[in-house]
């Protein structure tokens, strides 16, 4: 789902070997990735990553890791997930956080001097994780700091908006929390996340130095990481514990892949969490899952055997142990995207390569066919073409002006239409309730096309209907328009009449006063007491409003109702 930018050289260093462009294109299938853009000079690649559930892949490090595992046939363990010693650093969570932003996870990364490309990647990763995975920082947000500036333990606490002040990134002078929310660009962008809270989250070190206002902005003093920094402090806060920890795990392995030594941080909660009150993060909270070999083979339609399945999974980063009929699998700590056995099945297929599976033609016998409505629609279209009418297709979305006011329907019983709450533009803000305005749009745009104009469309319209569950119903409608210097009611009625003759449907016309038509030249098409549509000569004012300079006659029929009749 995200598109990220990576540097070819940086990527190959992380991968541990050079690749050709062709090799890379093939390998990227492993991460559901595709190169969208290449800059040969800078070595920059824009890679689109499809999988919305694999945030660990949304970075150069992540892509390189997944491919490296494949090339090496297995993953190397990250030892910091099983710390032997007690963490050196601690974060204390203050009471009350559970009501605002309950969870935090943190770690340190030491010994990797941040390079220029490394910093670019780090910032990109932070953005993608917080925006997409963290739902625009609501669920997860991330802070990165210079470790030497911090005196532990750090407290994750609450403060009144006016009381606490610090200099945020991008500013020269200290602002209160309230001012940050009101004036800082990030405050204005993300402030809504904290709306309704009297006190706001704050990270403070032992000396009272403010690290940041999560999830809004870091302090400039402590939280402005620069190229060359060797000691970092990373924290993730949020509303979903597993997502918070997973995000930290991803950042930890990314930094570790660049050579940093990751130090765990102890987080002390004054309240219970799913995983306990004292957590050492990064933390591998994944559980093994046992899947019958048969399940995997049945889903893939191919006998693979326990060994091949185990190799496929370890070659994709899983921890996997196979017995005769089962495989026990566990995801690496930077993934948490398996909800169902089907997810593991896909990883087996991806790791094996889709080309390893021979397509099997569908063999079950099924009868093909069209719906009644579509069959009738096709018959009508054929008849209309036979009468010399050119078929049109229009957008279903239109403007109220086109559908109502230009048809002289404002304030009448015909002015109800389905409208959109969040239109991109007024031009496309409503669903058409009839086809005629779309045909008039054609007329307005086609004065130079030689006459006569005989046009029609069979298409869906949305008719407001309070009796319906959704307040409107989708109807297939036929609209026809005839325009030339002496276009007349009887001429288009001949077409309607012939249509009904071939559809073997009796009908009558009942005079109707309809604002879109000339009085005395409009009728309701009625069949066995049911209204099927309208026919008439368009009112000169309608033509004027559309800037159409030719007399036009039209009819419109609900194909749905014709289908019911048949």
């Amino acid at each position: 789902m995200p598109t990220i930018s990576i540097n070819r050289k940086d990527f190959e260093q992380l991968l541990g070997q050079p690749t050709t462009t062709e090799e890379l294109d093939v390998l990227l299938a492993l991460v559901k990735g595709e190169v969208k853009d290449r800059h040969a000079e800078t070595g920059e690649l824009r890679v689109e990553l499809q999988d919305g559930n694999r945030p660990d892949l949304w970075s150069c490090e992540g892509i390189a890791r997944q491919l490296r595992i494949k090339l090496k046939g297995g993953a190397s363990a990250y030892r910091f997930f099983k710390p032997s010693t007690h963490p050196k650093h601690r974060v204390d969570v203050a009471p009350g956080m559970e009501r605002v932003r309950p969870f935090i996870a943190a770690c340190t990364a030491v010994g990797y001097p941040v390079t220029e490309e490394g910093l670019v990647q780090l910032i990109q990763t932070l953005e993608k994780l917080a925006e997409l995975f963290g739902r625009k920082r609501r669920t997860v947000s991330i802070g990165l700091y210079r470790l030497p500036q911090i005196v532990f333990p750090v407290t994750y606490t609450l403060a009144k908006p006016e009381e606490a002040r610090f200099t945020p990134l991008g500013f020269e002078e200290p602002l209160s929390l309230a001012e940050i929310l009101a004036r800082h660009p990030k405050g204005m962008e993300y402030g809504a996340i904290l709306a309704g809270h009297e006190r706001l989250p704050l990270l403070r070190d032992k000396d009272g130095r403010i690290l940041s206002l999560p999830p809004i902005i870091n302090s400039r003093e402590v939280g402005e990481v620069q190229v060359g920094d060797r000691e970092l402090f990373v924290e993730v806060t949020g509303t979903d514990l597993r997502m918070v920890i997973l995000t930290l795990n991803i950042l930890a392995v990314n930094l570790a892949d660049r050579g940093a030594t990751i130090g765990a941080v102890e987080v002390q909660y004054p309240y219970a969490t799913d995983l306990g009150e004292i957590l050492h993060t990064p933390l591998d909270f994944g559980k093994p899952r046992s899947i019958p070999i048969k399940t995997i083979e049945a889903a893939l339609g191919q006998t693979l055997g326990a060994k091949a399945i185990r190799l496929a999974l370890t070659g994709y980063g899983y921890e996997a142990r196979a017995s005769r009929d089962k495989v026990s699998v566990k995801l690496p700590p930077y993934r948490n995207d398996v909800m169902h056995d089907a997810d593991v099945v896909e990883d087996v297929a991806i790791s094996s390569g889709y080309s390893q599976f021979a397509p099997v033609m569908p063999s079950a016998f099924t009868v093909g066919g069209l719906s009644r409505l579509e069959e009738l629609s096709d018959r009508i279209r054929e008849l209309m073409v036979g009468y010399g009418y050119q078929e049109m297709i229009s957008n279903i979305m239109a403007s109220r002006q086109e559908l109502v006011s230009r048809m002289r329907l404002t304030g009448t019983e015909w002015d109800r239409i389905v409208e959109v709450d969040n239109p991109v533009s007024q031009t496309f803000s409503c669903l058409r309730q009839w086809i005629i305005p779309c045909l008039l749009r054609v007329e307005a745009a086609s004065a130079r096309a030689f006459y006569p104009h005989r046009i029609f469309e069979v298409g869906e319209v949305e008719i407001p209907d309070p009796a319906h569950d959704t307040g409107s119903r989708t109807v297939l409608s036929l609209g026809a328009l005839l325009a030339h210097a002496s276009a007349s009611f009887s001429e288009i009625q001949s077409c309607l009449d012939l249509l009904f003759f071939y559809l073997e449907c009796p009908y009558t016309l009942e005079p109707i006063n309809h604002p879109s038509f000339l009085e005395g030249r409009a009728g309701r098409v009625v069949s066995e007491g049911r209204s099927l549509g309208l026919i008439g000569e368009l009112h000169p004012e309608v033509l004027e409003l559309w800037q159409v300079g030719m007399p036009s006659v039209v009819f419109e029929l609900e194909v749905d109702r014709l289908a019911e009749w048949k």
């Binding site: 339609g301 191919q302 169902h340 896909e346 099997v360 957008n395 279903i396 409208e419 669903l431 086609s446």
Partner: protein, 525 residues
């Protein structure tokens, strides 16, 4: 000279009429040449038709100009027309003097000039002529008096004006005294303010050349002049067509355009796709344009917090905002699947599912919504379904984004379906729908399928392109809707193929309002 018969075949009907008319002169006692006007009359042609035909025949050397005469022609100038309507200065002076005399008044030249608004130059000319004729005299003290002697000049002018009123005439048609008056009062250099103009007109008399005579004789013999251009029911009825000559057409000319009744080219393409799918055993399914979020997304196991469900991705309906109800047991089943997997073998998304949000109305954003409804409606097993569904996406409209567009989507259900059947189905689509021989499968991601595949084919004109996406529906999708067999969900991205087939570059042109464009677009399927 080419042979006479073939010359006749190449003649235009207008030319034949002219030759026939001149041919008739040969036979008669009168001179063999005809003046233009006479010729037009004899050939029953309009002046413009005649001049065209004469031009052509001169070029072909079938006629020649026998005599050319210069004829002076008199016509009215603007001043002349004014004289006709408001009378000439001489008439006006006399009439003014009569009226003054009756009122016992005296008028000076200046009085008359002011009263009648006559130009000074016209005034002096007219006074001079009238005085000479003795129609007026100047009394001592400057007063002007009518003598009662009629002005011959004024009368002549009136007569000439009347004769020229309708059309110009030859100068020779007037009697000598009149001719003199005309010449006196014709526009000359230095005196543009006159009622008449004398122009020289060249009049031509045409006669047949020797070749022309031959052709004309043949025309007379064969009654070519009686040539029939249109076979009529009358000719058929009484057999009169026999012995008639039918005019030969110049068939190399472009015919006039007609407006044909025709399917829309894009619809033709979609009809082709529809036929293919039906022939492959797929049943058509349909669904509403306005959908609840439930059917559009929840039922497809897209969590309610999914980034593609936000205000900038789908269109929300303004009124009513929510559907009245979602059918049970589907609502409860899907809600449970989102919460905790609900016995599907899944962990679920693990969040508090919002029942109110489920009823929020949107414009259908994906054809898969139709598939979800089909799954819930007791589909056939084994079964194959497709829909060509109009979908709506929140996008700025440009050359590659339409506000609403068609999605070709469907499902296939069956107890024996596996990942390999999925590949088989896509293989079939590649060969049958896209006529592609080279294809490849790559891993893909859709929120509602696992495993998921993208189908790429080598298009003869576009090279490698993505033709579609597909996958096996997640059990979290099928089981809550009451389906217990594996289901393939597939979608084909055919718009690019359609645009190539129709030769257009801008996706908006698929829905164009330009009739001329639709009339002239041809599909190459």
């Amino acid at each position: 000279m080419a042979d006479t018969a073939s010359i006749i075949d190449s003649l235009h009907p207008l030319e034949i009429k002219v030759l026939a008319a001149l041919g008739r002169q040969l036979a008669g006692p009168s001179p063999s040449s005809l003046q233009e006007e006479q010729l037009a009359k004899a050939a029953e042609l309009e002046a413009s038709q005649l001049s065209m035909a004469v031009e052509w025949l001169l070029t072909k050397s079938l006629i020649r100009v026998e005599t050319e005469k210069v004829v002076p022609i008199v016509s009215l100038t603007k001043v002349g027309e004014l004289y006709f309507e408001k009378y000439s200065p001489a008439e006006r002076i006399i009439s003014a003097l009569r009226q003054a005399a009756q009122a016992d008044k005296r008028l000076t030249i200046q009085d008359i000039q002011a009263r009648e608004g006559i130009e000074p130059a016209d005034m002096s000319g007219a006074i001079g002529s009238l005085k000479k004729e003795g129609s007026i005299r100047i009394a001592p003290g400057g007063g002007v008096e009518a003598t009662g002697t009629p002005s011959r000049l004024a009368e002549s002018l009136r007569a000439i004006l009347q004769q020229l009123r309708g059309s110009p005439r030859e100068l020779q048609a007037f009697a000598e005294p009149m001719r003199h008056v005309i010449q006196q009062h014709a526009v000359k250099r230095g005196n543009p303010h006159e009622p008449f103009r004398i122009d020289d007109r060249v009049e031509r008399w045409y006669a047949l050349t020797p070749d022309g005579e031959q052709v004309a004789r043949l025309i007379a013999q064969q009654e070519v002049g009686q040539e029939v251009s249109q076979l009529t029911p009358e000719l058929l009825k009484d057999g009169a067509w026999r012995g008639k000559r039918f005019r030969k057409y110049t068939i190399s000319l472009r015919p006039p355009r007609v407006a044909a009744g025709k399917r829309h080219p894009y619809r033709e393409f979609l009809d082709m796709v529809k036929r293919k799918l039906v022939s492959l055993g797929f049943q058509e399914m349909r669904g509403p344009l306005v959908e609840s979020e439930f059917w559009n997304m929840d039922a497809l196991y897209m969590p309610q917090f999914h980034p593609a469900r936000a205000i900038h991705d789908v269109y929300f309906v303004k009124e009513p905002t929510h559907a009245r109800a979602i059918a049970e047991p589907y609502l409860s089943n899907v809600a449970a699947a989102h919460r905790n997997g609900a016995g599907t073998g899944s962990t679920g998304w693990g969040y508090e599912y919002d029942l109110h949000r489920a009823r929020r109305l949107v414009l259908r954003s994906q054809g898969t919504a139709v598939s979800a409804r089909t799954l819930a409606s007791g589909p056939q097993v084994p079964g194959k379904y497709f829909s060509i569904a109009r979908c709506f996406r929140y996008d700025q409209v440009d050359a590659t984004h339409a506000t609403d567009f068609f999605q070709v989507e469907g499902i296939m259900l069956g107890p024996d379906i596996t990942f390999r059947t999925l590949l088989g189905l896509l293989d079939l689509f590649a060969r049958e729908v896209a006529q592609a021989r080279d294809l490849r499968f790559t891993p893909a991601y859709f929120p509602f399928t696992e495993p998921s595949v993208e189908l790429h084919v080598r298009h003869p004109r576009l090279g490698w392109m993505e033709l579609g996406g597909a996958g096996l529906f997640r059990p979290e999708v099928t089981q809550p809707l009451g389906v217990d067999v594996p289901v393939i969900a597939w979608g084909l991205g055919l718009d690019r193929m359609a645009m190539v087939a129709l030769g257009i570059q801008d996706i908006r042109d698929l829905f164009t309002a330009d009739l001329e464009l639709v009339r002239t677009t041809r599909g190459r399927f």
